[in-house]
Each structure stands twice: as C-alpha cells, then as structure tokens.
Symmetry: C2
Subunit: 201 residues, 2 copies
C-alpha cells in the first residue's frame, strides 16, 4: 500500500449524502449534509465546509504475511457499481494503547480481538480503506476507516461493527464517530470526479 | 512516546554548526552552515533556509515489551551537558520494505539485523530520538534520527553506524544522508532557547 494523502471534507458538497452521524464514544462531530473525498491534502477554503479530516494510506502495522495473502485475495476495490452505502468511522485510541510495545498491541489486536480474522469474514462484501492520522500531529483522530457496500449487505456491516466494538481492542478507543452515507451524485459517469469549468459559468 | 512534531531547519542559523554532510546512498542534500530544531511544524520563510525536514515522534513499531524495558532503563535524555557532538541521519526505505508484512519487517529488523540489540550496546553513551516521516506525504525521507554524544564517544558512534549499515535491514535503504554537527551557541544558558525581543532591536 503506497502512501497517499486523503482529505475528507464535510460540508454541503460532494457525492456522498449523510444519512446519520452518531457519536459512539467521546465528543460528537459537527453535523454536515454531504462529504467529499479528495486524494490530496486540502484545508478547505469553502465557507460551507464544517470540518476536514486528513489521513494517509500506509504500510501494514500488525498483519502477518499469511494474513496479508488472505486479505489480498478477498479484498475488493472501492467504487464498485452498486456499492451505494458507505461509512466513515474516525477513531482515536488512548494514550495507554500508544504506549504499549508492538507485541502487546498485536496480542490485543489479533490474539484477543481477532480484528483481521473477523474482518476477513466480511470480505468481499464490505470494501474498506484505512487511513492513518496518528503521525499527522494536530489531527483529532488516529484512524479514518472508509467502508463501501451495497444495500443488500447493510446487515452484515452492522454485524461487523457491532462485533468489533465488543472486542478487547475497543477498550482502548477514546473517541469514535460513526458517519453513514449514501451515494447521491449526477449519474453522468459514476467513476469520474465532477469537474466544473470556471470559465463556462 | 507521545506524538510531537519537529522541524529540522537547515540554513545559516541555529545552535548546531555543520561539520559534514555526506550522501551515503542516493541523492545528496544541499549543503548548509547551521541547523535549528524546533518542536512544531514550520515551513521556514527565512531567505537563508535551504531546506526543512519534518518528522514526528511516535509509537514503537517493532519493539517488544522486554526490549522496551531494556531500552527505557538505559536511554539517556537529549541535551546532556558535554554532548556537543550530534548527527542527523535522514533515511528513506524502499517500496519493497514498505510492502512487506509486519512479521517480515520485524524479522529483518531484529532477528536478522539485531537493530535493537546493537543499539542497546551503545546506550547510554549515544542519546537518540527517532522521528517518523513516512506518513507525512511529501517528505523526502521516512525517518530522521537525531543522535547526541560527547566527543569522547565519537569512535563508538562511528562503530554503531558502520555496523548497522552492514546489516540486512540496510539493503532496504534507498537514500541515506549523514549530517554531523557540533554544538556552537552563546553560552549564556545552554538549556534555554535564544529569544530575541523584536522591540529591543
């Protein structure tokens, strides 16, 4: 996974329409109408922007070679036709988590919580991209996970988040917001970003 | 280790005077006279600044609990009196490194290269702070390691870098620059940053 920066821009524009924003643990986030995701670092200058979260795709932190191969074989791409449901789940873990040694975090993450094993069960139904924010000093969260799935797999998604939230790993979650969205954009070409030609306005 | 952002500002100001800048692997860096280190994100506006590197202190990536305890017991703080020698070694690792799974990287890092075991031998002589840049998309390096030691321990420092450079881990180093410095600042109070009162100028 190469390092790429993403900005999640919450406001009144973008192809993803907000269904709900629930504070699971800790401080809530300001409500928005729509979300836009861009593959660069943006601190929005648009007046209607309520917040921007940043995160980067990065190398694996806990996954072994064997687990990576299982994940790679089953992981679907984002942007599948029909995946009109999405979730953005920003999470901040506690100081206690980050002060653990690598082997202790791995034990909680997989031996105790089966994070990878559980996630594997929901592939390829639930597409997923993890963004890291912990090293981006000043960001309010440590992880931004983006999920995409079809309406037919909604129940499975609810099951997945419910199981993970009961795991020992989640005792180290200090703040979690659960944002649900639906795809709602002009159907000219669902795979192309909408470009506005300023001159033509 | 809490997440703190540092900027390494290369130019003609700062308490650290450059002794040498050597390109060990890959592209060289522009020569500078002095280095200033600040505990925040700065993109310098000073005309004499040649480059700025950014990195954050972060959680441990490979270290086990047992190794952490050994390291904590022997690791000295930065800024010791007499530690007038320093080195800044920015490193970029290859795409192949970052695509490895966690267990594969750990095997190369410690089982094959003994990175922690070797480092431990040079504690408390060589003080050290590691800064991560890999997730700061756009930074030219993945790691910035800052070392401080007394002139009496110079030979040990040469030995340490020489041993690590021969390790299997270093096959994954794509770019490495070795910057050596000496402390050279007004001796009013060596532990206080120099503050200039603009009004008094």
């Amino acid at each position: 996974m190469s390092n790429e920066m993403y900005s999640f821009i919450g406001g009144s524009t973008g192809p993803w329409k907000i269904v709900s924003i629930n504070s699971v643990t800790g401080k809530a986030m300001e409500p928005i109408d729509r979300l836009e995701i861009v593959n660069e670092f943006i601190t929005s200058s648009k007046a209607e922007t309520k917040w921007v979260l940043h995160g980067t795709t990065s190398n694996l932190r806990y996954t072994t070679r064997q687990e990576k191969e299982q994940l790679d074989a089953k992981s679907p791409p984002l942007g599948r036709k029909g995946d009109t449901c999405a979730a953005l789940i920003p999470i901040k873990k506690s100081k206690a988590w980050w002060e653990l040694a690598q082997d202790e975090r791995r034990t909680i993450f997989e031996a105790q919580s089966e994070h990878i094993k559980i996630g594997l069960k929901y592939l390829p139904a639930i597409a997923r991209r993890l963004h890291h924010s912990h090293d981006l000093v000043g960001e309010p969260f440590d992880f931004l996970t983006w999920f995409e799935y079809s309406p037919a797999h909604s129940d499975e998604f609810e099951e997945l988040v419910s199981i993970l939230r009961k795991s020992p790993e989640w005792k180290y979650v200090d703040r979690e917001v659960d944002i649900r969205l639906v795809l709602d954009k002009p159907s000219i070409d669902p795979n192309q970003p909408i470009k506005v030609n300023i001159k033509s306005l």
